[in-house]
Amino acid sequence: MSGTEAAGARMSRRPSLTRLSDAVGRGGILIPFVVTFVALSLASPSFLRFQNLANILDQQSGIIIVAAAGTFVLIAGGIDLSIGAIYGLAAATALNVASSVSSPAGVVAGIAVGLAVGLANGIIVTRFRINALIGTLAMSFVVSGIAAIVTRGNLVVALDHPDFQQFAATRILGVTSAAWMMLLTAVAATILLSRTTFGRYVYATGGNAQAARLGGVRVNAIRVATFALSGAAAGLAGTIDSSRVLSAQATSGQFLTFTVLTGIIVGGTSILGGEGSMQRTVIGCLFVALVANGFNLLGLDPFYQQVTLGVILLLAVGVDAWSRRSE
């Protein structure tokens, strides 16, 4: 570096405040995550048990799969509010097809339904230039409506098809296949985002769409791809959860959208696009799960859990706004 010192001096770096807030943003969520983890280990003897941790992973598998894909959407400058509805429709579809055709067909159908809705979202947002927030909100009504029609508002059960349960509930090394699929998705998403040209284009699209276009990025194609990923992931998550319990309900994804967005944003991915990372999303989701688990283990009033989550979300967005302040 010493050779470039003279040039470096002319590069007049920005104030160190920005760098400090960058550092907070970067390490960000890891610190509260570790603190919570340690605190729970000390406070509750059952927390550190393998079974509890494996349960957390199993329960979070759907959420983290959807959040990993949703991270692409957010970084590319979009938002997908239809993931909960897609999840519900995919769960019902997968279970229906699994019981009427075969388990593998059920899995394919669940994911395909999600992918199709995701593509439709992408086209609505790019081709028809409808704001992503509104477009996917509208889509979520359409999709949950379809799911309610398909299931006639009933609980769909397939208790007579235990083979479908193997998809999500097979134990490998003591951990469910659902958790393994989540791990695989997270690793693949991390590589896709940080190592590939696609990942670069996603950051560029969300960071400055006009500059990305002039820089040779097919901005609309990238946006469609992120929504397709998000839809397919919601489809997979719905399939996994319907497989686990062999039942599904059109409304089962009601809270998923907000749980997922909370995990992504608490992780530190900006809702303004152009920034974020997969590792942060995973840790963010796990952090939210730890808080919930902690309330359970310590027998705290679950009403306070919601208040706590809300405050955490506000803090996360506040930190993001603060780190952008200097611009």
Partner: protein, 504 residues
């Protein structure tokens, strides 16, 4: 020039120091600013001139030193406090509410009101009085965001006057204006001075400073080099003081391309939004300047060539390859664009320098979709050393100064090894030293066989760099000037569509 100014000091800047982190932005700066004078601050980017302007207007607090307003020590905690003492800042970027009407913006936060309701009649009446006094021709009912930038600046000035400011800091007021707009701005400055107000002018444009200011302070690396009456300075003396060394020739030698060098960019009868029936050829190794007033269609032409805006009719070829009308195709055909606005159209300020530079070249830097990160680092570092003399790769682009950000766009274009480079205002907002570097890069590229289409509002830049100048007006090419015919007067005459006498 100094007839209207008194010897009374309006604002005495004494021993001001300011640091941003480890960067010493201002160091022991002392400047007496006389009442009723136009006082200019000049210096390279990063010399501290804007920072000083902002401290005077209460935007930043100083770390050391004091401000004396008519001999009384003052401390400003905010721009609002400075405004209460009659000091207003008209910033580089206009800070108006775009959807409000002009008059509402002027009186924003100080509306005449009765029991909470704005009194529209009184507001209109006050606005009328104010514009008449200032001699502005502004419609108070116009939606501010729809006005041209020059008029939005006038709204800012009015806003300062509406609060009885008698010291107005203009921070790079003409950076985004051109031609006649700049002329109107200069009239405004002269009028403010004639009214007995004090104007602090922070500017890159030395001719502007020499034409308007009574006194000029040269800053370098946060320190005052000297404060002198403008009449004792010349452009050369100011540049020498800013650089700390005598000014070398600003423009590198021109290397004419070989007579038989092939056409690298051919445009036939192109019609696109803002562009009408343009035909143009740029040969390999040639620098063709594109002159014209703002709105003449130059940037529109650049965008149409690059495929950023759809062509309606006509043909564009890069060498033998027809351009299909999208940036992706143009990049593939060897066309690179340095866009007009680096912040809006060019950079990803929060992403690392490396990613900013490699973006357009990723097509050649991956294996099965995976970025070849080592190759990327090596290639980006190589081109950065050539362009900026630094191989800093991982800092966010937004951490760099304006000049270095502009260099990143050059680095990006260079890395794509284009055969045609369209450079739209490539030295905008860049200081003298960095400008010289960019000129050398452009000439180097041309010498290496790249065909360059150079758009610039700076006449000197076009004359100093281009082998040929094409002048546009109202979307059409109205003149093509080369050799001895390429003069400032001829270009202006063509740009304004008048005789040379009327335009000069």
């Amino acid at each position: 020039m100094a007839t209207a100014t008194s010897d009374q000091v309006h604002l005495d800047v004494r021993g001001i120091g300011k640091s941003f982190g480890a960067t010493r932005a201002l160091d022991d700066v002392s400047i007496p600013i006389r009442s009723g004078s136009v006082h200019a601050f000049v210096g390279e980017n990063g010399a501290g001139k804007s920072t000083l302007g902002k401290i005077i207007a209460g935007v930043f607090p100083q770390d050391q030193g004091k401000l004396y307003l008519r001999s009384t020590p003052v401390v400003f905690g905010s721009p609002r406090e400075a405004l209460q003492r009659g000091i207003a800042l008209v910033a580089q970027e206009v800070a108006l509410v775009p959807l409000l009407r002009v008059a509402e913006n002027v009186f924003l936060g100080a509306e005449p009101r009765r029991s909470g309701f704005i009194e529209r009649d009184r507001l209109a009446e006050r606005f009328q009085r104010l514009t008449t006094e200032a001699g502005f021709d502004l419609d108070g009912n116009a939606i501010t965001g729809r006005l041209p930038l020059a008029q939005q600046q006038q709204v800012e000035v009015l806003r300062a006057l509406a609060r009885d400011a008698d010291l107005i800091v203009l921070d790079e007021p003409s950076a985004s204006l051109s031609g006649h707009e700049v002329e109107r701005l200069h009239e405004i400055v002269r009028r403010l001075r004639a009214d007995g107000r004090t104007v602090v002018l922070v500017s890159h444009f030395l001719q502007e400073v020499l034409a308007l200011a009574d006194t000029v302070t040269v800053l370098r690396d946060g320190k005052v080099v000297r404060t002198d009456p403008t009449s004792e300075e010349t452009e050369a003396s100011l540049i020498a003081a800013m650089l700390g060394r005598p000014a070398s020739r600003t423009y590198p030698d021109k290397h004419l391309p070989a007579e038989d060098s092939p056409a690298a960019l051919t445009i036939r009868d192109l019609t696109a939004p803002g562009v009408r029936h343009v035909s143009l050829t740029v040969r390999a190794g040639e620098i063709v300047g594109l002159a014209g007033l703002i709105g003449a269609g130059r940037s529109e032409l650049a965008r149409a060539i690059y495929g950023a805006a759809p062509a309606i009719a006509g043909e564009i070829h890069a060498g033998p390859t027809p351009l299909a009308g999208s940036p992706v195709d143009s990049i593939r055909a060897g066309v690179a664009l340095i866009p007009e606005s680096r912040k809006d159209d060019g950079l990803f300020l929060r992403r690392p320098i490396r990613e900013n530079v490699s973006l357009t070249s990723l097509a050649g830097l991956h294996r099965l979709g995976f970025v070849r990160r080592r190759a990327e680092r090596i290639q980006v570092a190589g081109v950065l050393v050539r362009v900026t003399g630094s191989s800093l790769l991982e800092a966010p682009a937004g951490a760099l100064s304006g000049g270095n950000q502009q260099k990143l766009l050059f680095a990006r274009a260079l890395l794509a090894t284009p055969s045609v480079l369209i450079a739209d205002e490539p030295t905008r907002g860049v200081d003298v030293g960095a400008k010289r570097d960019l000129y050398e890069l452009l000439v180097d590229l041309a010498t290496g066989g790249v065909a360059i289409l150079l758009i610039s509002n700076e006449m000197e830049e076009l004359l100093g760099l281009a082998h040929r100048v094409v002048v546009m007006r109202l979307g059409r090419v109205v003149a093509e000037l080369g050799g001895p015919a390429m003069t400032e007067a001829a270009i202006l005459a063509a740009a304004f569509g008048t005789d040379g006498t009327a335009a000069a």
